[in-house]
Symmetry: C2
């Protein structure tokens, strides 16, 4: 009797595996691999200019010294903290709370912080906690970061898009979506958004819009999932705006924190601040952070203490201010963004059918073009014009963004921006000349 | 208008949060925190004797040298590999494949390896891929590691316990469970088990039982999820037995690897070997590993490259042999296990109503006692006799293990084993004298 190797049809596996949101990142990575010499204005990775291997042993030593001097740890305690399994909610929660106080004016109990394997795990933990059954749905500003759609798909949570205007999420549409969902027997649990220099739109919500959104969320009984990976990178010299969480007096906001762009992606350390109270008959009250930690204990057990120690050391070396630690990086991104906006104006300022967003910070500019900016066009652009960008349609659930592309300034130098825009110029000429409209 | 802080009833959150499997680890940690001076024969943590902070910078340097010398990486490539986002399936997959070849005789394509945030994430990825809808169920040897029940709960996957005999999983019961589940309209997808020195039972499957199980799995069309955290730690001087994966000629086995006990828990690096083929209309065939990586990209993005680099360095420094790297550790656990078994014989050898397992390796011994070994008894033991152990009932879904406790030898020294057993003696005398039977 011969035995055949075990195999599946993908249809036998979880539905997420055939979902466009899950294929999206794969496709973009494949194109980048397939055209390694193409210039990328697609990648949202942080700059590599500041990475130095010699920093890592020092960060580790700085963190260990902190344990000895501030936490009265013995040598054995220090070794155990770094090498062993550890606290589910993390070991740098106090340093993260200090950072939020120093840089964001957010005053939070360190016990409400869950340190996670990047911000992506924080999203998953929040959605897993909130999705009780098929009636629970998530609202997300559209266009939205692909990762939130992916995380929702992993817990089979339906995602309802909410429209965005110049000031961010449209409150009328938000209220209408919530009403319609409730009328259909659904339970809208939370709205996901990036209020500062959003990915992909680049939009920033003005202060009054933040207050209005918080009031609307209270009114509607919705949590806000505030994701803030780019908040430090204001580029126009203006003051950074207060985060929703810093304005939040009613624990309406779960704050999702990333350290990938402000420390280093390679640590995979992010966090959630979840100070909402959870009542349970017969037991003490807990925080939503504690419930998320219970889920984490069955998902990743805890975030690598070694990785946390490296990030912790970096925080300590700048007195827990990432604004201070990133002074050069912030200036660099700011110069890049200005260069891109000026370069677009120089090349396309008088061309009908081409327009672009004018973000005041962050990594991303959205360009509207007079042709389909889809996967096929991207592949053509990569092969013929050696330029990579991101089709905006990837950030929509369903229709949207068909004639838009996202450019990123985070992982390039100014000369590459100029070269990239020259190539975009060629692509536009090519496609408009060829009537591939 | 005053606003109340946002709060939930736990009943509004995902059902896993009220599940005993999820509360279990929390409870055990709480008891340990509440009685810090109690001696713990509960913890399954690895020994701390071998942890040395000075190793970490060297491991990092070793891994970077490997990138330069073996992978022709430039300095810029090295920095990018360590600091940036990286390959979803990981950066030490080739070293893990080498380790499996050297130590386990498993010959696997490195592309079938997914590096994960500890073995717990590998379990989650496998179950998330396999659980398509409410009809998909998981079989698990009972008693079972708590983490598999937790991971199953996170994807709402029902877990069916399968009975265990002296040689491991009972094939008759396995077949009966599968038949009954199918008759009920369910789809049993896989059987989870630890064939070597299982947690918690300590049992090891003999070679013939392994062959029989593989044949049964093929017959039944079941995947086997083979978890092998303790396989290196044979304690009786005998030869280690081949893993199921090394005997697997039909990709029937998804191998779940932990490096927590053989490298360090603090890296949170584990992996899965998933070489099953996945067919999908209109696209190339992929490996189950690739599908798991797609899920991972929306869960944790990738496993910390910094943590992987530390583990990679450790692997490289022992020519990818963890048997070699752990020579002292293996000898230490072996001495501890013998000490525990001898100590039990010395103290309880002639006592009716007390018996215990005689594992040939690993960390765990199960003691059957003439009283309820439940949470209340554990708390009494911790407070009155300053001894911690684990109630076996935590490892059962439903009934089982009520009069059994698990002792662990992994994180204690021989003198603590003697002291712990003296305290167990006192506890047994106390509870039998007081008729708390």
């Amino acid at each position: 009797m011969t035995h055949h190797p075990y195999s599946f049809d993908r249809a036998e596996l979880h539905g997420s595996l055939a979902d466009p949101a899950m294929e999206s990142m794969n496709f973009l990575n494949q194109i980048a691999e397939q055209y390694p010499t193409a210039l990328s204005l697609a990648a949202g990775r942080p700059t590599e200019a500041v990475f130095d291997l010699a920093d890592l042993p020092r960060h580790l030593e700085t963190f260990c010294r902190y344990l000895r001097e501030e936490k009265n740890a013995t040598e054995s305690d220090v070794r155990r903290t770094v090498f062993q399994y550890g606290r589910t909610k993390g070991i740098i929660h106090e340093l993260i709370a200090a950072n939020l106080r120093v840089d964001e004016g957010i005053d939070v109990d360190p016990e409400a912080v869950v340190v996670t394997v990047g911000c992506q795990e924080a999203m998953f933990l929040a959605l897993r906690a909130l999705r009780r059954d098929e009636r629970d749905v998530l609202l997300a500003v559209s266009p939205s970061y692909v990762g939130i759609a992916g995380a929702a798909r992993l817990v089979d949570m339906k995602l309802l898009p909410v429209r965005e205007g110049a000031d961010g999420v449209l409150l009328d549409d938000l209220a209408a979506q919530v009403r319609a969902a409730r009328a259909a027997g659904l339970r809208p649990r939370a709205l996901y958004l990036i209020p500062d220099f959003a990915n992909p739109s680049g939009l920033t919500m003005p202060l009054n819009a933040r207050h209005s959104l918080l009031a609307a969320a209270r009114e509607l009984g919705l949590l806000l999932l505030e994701d803030n990976p780019y908040g430090l990178f204001r580029a126009d010299g203006g003051e950074r705006l207060p985060t929703l969480k810093s304005l939040d007096t009613t624990s309406q906001v779960v704050y999702l924190g990333s350290l990938a762009k402000t420390a280093f992606p390679g640590a995979r350390v992010g966090y959630a601040v979840a100070d909402q109270t959870v009542r349970s008959p017969g037991t003490d009250r807990s925080l939503l952070a504690d419930e998320m930690a219970k889920i984490k204990s069955m998902l990743t057990v805890n975030t690598s203490p070694m990785a946390q120690a490296l990030v912790g050391g970096k925080l300590l070396e700048s007195d827990c201010s990432l604004v201070k630690a990133n002074a050069d990086t912030i200036a660099g991104y700011s110069r890049n963004l200005e260069r891109l906006l000026t370069g677009l104006q120089d090349r396309f300022g008088h061309q009908p059918g081409i327009s672009w967003s004018r973000p005041i910070g962050g990594f991303f500019v959205v360009v509207t073009v007079p042709f389909q900016a889809d996967n096929a066009t991207l592949e053509y652009s990569a092969g013929k014009h050696r330029l990579l960008w991101t089709p905006m349609s990837h950030f929509y659930q369903g229709e949207g963004g068909e004639r838009q592309l996202r450019l990123s300034v985070s992982s390039v130098v100014p000369e590459q921006i100029d070269l990239g825009l020259d190539r975009l110029r060629s692509l536009v000429d090519d496609l408009t000349a060829n009537h591939r409209l």
